[in-house]
């Protein structure tokens, strides 16, 4: 009886299996095609600066002057690269301790309250549009910095502060998941040996989850690296390496968004912006590889 039922069911199952296989395969195919076409598109545009317009790659990467309209036109992207790295790393430095501590509180110290109220609130931060962050930065952070510090308030410090709030959910969520996934035995063993809660957190929990925490930071940096609008509004966008944290600076993304619409496709100035986009994309790939590497080292 049961055998005959199985045989009757076998056919629909087979069909389901195939429908599922083909459907998922098509999805993956679509994703891969999209990714490769984007990479090809950006690379072909970005490389034409060097191939068609004969701009030296080294000059672009190390040059300090960005004069797309100058005579001769100069394309030194180092100020942008510097700006991107300094804002996103500074943002991570500000957000990482906050994110870790929030995660420790939510998982170790007050799980009920933390999980129920704190986590949704922090995850809400991820849902706020970046232009809102930018506008708040421009209306609150910039005037505050202008009053407190020398300079005009805009600059890397304002950009990093805005970004740090934007990447806080990424870092906190990943840290929370890592801490929650820690085997109970480790902590219990530590308590059994007589260590206090702080000793356990400090000596056992944090070192064991460190690779996962680092993953969160790197993902946060990658997010900050690619953010354009919010940073553009508060950083000032002067194509120079600033002399202080409160002086107008630029990032790769802000340089691209400022000028992309104003330059004609295929012109040298436009191609140079695509080269910046290519650098941005390659850097993001590097971040992804770092994350993969850290995940491989994770002890959990």
């Amino acid at each position: 009886m049961s055998q005959s039922l199985d045989r009757q069911k076998a056919k629909p199952h087979l069909a389901e299996e195939w429908v599922g296989k083909i459907y998922t395969f098509l999805c993956i195919l679509f994703l891969i095609t999209t990714i490769f076409s984007i990479v090809y598109f950006v690379a072909s545009k970005g490389l034409s600066t060097f191939i068609v317009n004969h701009v030296n790659v080294i000059d672009l990467l190390t040059g300090l002057k960005w004069l797309p309209d100058g005579e001769p036109a100069l394309f030194g992207a180092l100020p942008f690269i510097f700006g991107s790295f300094s804002t996103s790393i500074l943002a991570a430095c500000l957000a990482a301790p906050l994110g870790f501590c929030a995660a420790v509180f939510m998982v170790e110290i007050s799980p009920k309250f933390g999980r129920k109220y704190l986590q949704p609130v922090i995850e809400l931060l991820a849902g706020i549009p970046s232009v809102v962050y930018g506008f708040v930065g421009l209306s609150v952070i910039v005037p505050f910095f202008r009053d407190v510090f020398p300079g005009q308030g805009i600059g890397i410090a304002a950009g990093a502060l805005v970004l740090s709030i934007m990447i806080l959910p990424t870092i906190t969520t990943i840290a929370t998941d890592a801490l929650a996934a820690l085997p109970k035995g480790l902590k219990e063993g530590s308590y059994a040996l007589g260590s206090t809660r702080w000793q356990t957190i400090y000596r056992i929990v944090l070192p064991t989850t460190l690779p996962a925490l680092m993953t969160g930071i790197v993902l946060g940096i990658a997010r900050a690296f690619g953010e354009a609008l919010a940073v553009q509004m508060v950083i000032g966008n002067a194509p120079h390496i600033p002399r202080s944290l409160f002086e107008s600076a630029s990032t790769l993304t802000s340089a691209i968004t400022l000028s992309m619409g104003n330059t004609a496709m295929g012109s040298l100035a436009n191609n140079a912006l695509w080269s910046l986009a290519l650098i941005l994309m390659l850097m993001t790939f590097v971040f992804v590889f770092i994350v993969r590497f850290l995940e491989g080292r994770s002890k959990l």
């Binding site: 629909p12 599922g20 004069l67 797309p68 309209d69 005009q152 002067a238 400022l258 004609a264 436009n270």
Partner: protein, 307 residues
């Protein structure tokens, strides 16, 4: 169970897509039906849809005018996109849009042969004035003083007759049409981006920063001026509609709507509508531009002014 879910999703997707398709059909059909059914409409024999893309500064003007035009000509549908003058010129040159809105002459952005294929339709004049933070006690700046400020030779307001206050430049990105106009006609030369200067793309942000930052100087189209910032005279001449119209105030530029070759009937009708009294004395003035008919002087690509 899974099967039902997939089936359901497929069904929803199909229905949505079908609905979309139907909607599109309806929206493109019904206006032409209306048009053919109501001969009382004067210019209702026009039909078709086209895209006007480009300058974000012009978006509002073109959008308002196209709304009125579409009310009168039910068969025509116009889409207005803002992506910057360069994008607009590229798109019209490559045939992706019928009209390319631009703050600058096509010759300044495109290669000469590509620009030659485009037909210029000047629809309004925009005038740009230097603006400063209201706390700065300067009313007038000469050309040389402006050059000194924007090239970084003068960094304190006291050197140009103001109080002892550091000058903070709020500039536009070097690719911006507004900056090109300001540099060409107010400074007479290109300037480099100085260390510490601020660059913002949107007029709203420039206005906010100039209004809030002590010692700030920037430049804005006349339509953006209000009490939060102070307009300075240029060589003793105040930027007003009259001084621009008779050519005494030099910092102005045309707003262009480019077509590739001679436009189609419905595009031509829209461009004529842009120059009609209704738009010129209505939307153009309302949005702070100066109507073409008021201009007593003309200017060509090279910047030569003729009466």
């Amino acid at each position: 169970m899974k099967k039902t879910v997939i089936l359901l999703m497929t069904l929803i997707l199909t229905v949505t897509l079908a609905a979309c398709g139907k909607n599109n059909n309806e929206s493109s059909n019904s206006p032409s039906e209306n048009a053919s059914n109501s001969p009382s409409e004067s210019a209702s024999d026009l039909s078709g849809s086209f895209l006007a893309s480009g300058s974000s500064a012009m978006q509002k003007l073109v959008e308002q005018a196209s709304g009125k035009f579409m009310d009168k000509n039910k068969g025509v549908s116009i889409q207005v996109q803002a992506g910057g003058s360069g994008t607009g010129l590229t798109q019209v040159s490559e045939g992706q849009s019928e009209i390319g809105n631009s703050d600058v002459f096509a010759e300044e952005k495109l290669d000469a042969d590509k620009a030659a294929a485009l037909v210029d339709h000047q629809v309004a004049v925009v005038s740009i004035a230097a603006v400063i933070n209201p706390a700065v006690t300067v009313d007038n700046l000469t050309k040389q003083q402006l050059i000194d400020i924007f090239t970084g030779k003068v960094t304190n307001w006291k050197d140009v007759g103001g109080n002892d206050q550091k000058i903070q430049i709020v500039n536009r990105p070097s690719s911006s049409g507004t900056r090109a106009t300001f540099e060409k006609f107010a400074l007479g030369q290109k300037t480099e981006d100085l260390q510490g200067s601020i660059q913002e793309d949107s007029s709203g942000t420039v206005k906010k920063l100039v209004g809030e930052t002590p010692g700030a100087i920037g430049y804005l189209a006349l339509s953006y001026l209000d009490d939060s910032i102070k307009k300075v005279k240029y060589e003793g001449i105040e930027a007003t509609e009259d001084t621009v119209a008779d050519g005494t105030y030099p910092v102005w530029a045309y707003e262009h709507m480019y077509t590739k070759g001679e436009p189609k009937a419905e595009v031509k009708a829209f461009l004529d509508f842009m120059l009609s009294d209704e738009v010129q004395n209505g939307d153009v003035v309302e949005l702070g531009y100066i109507p073409m008919s008021k201009m007593k002087v003309k200017r060509d690509v090279a910047g030569n002014v003729t009466k």
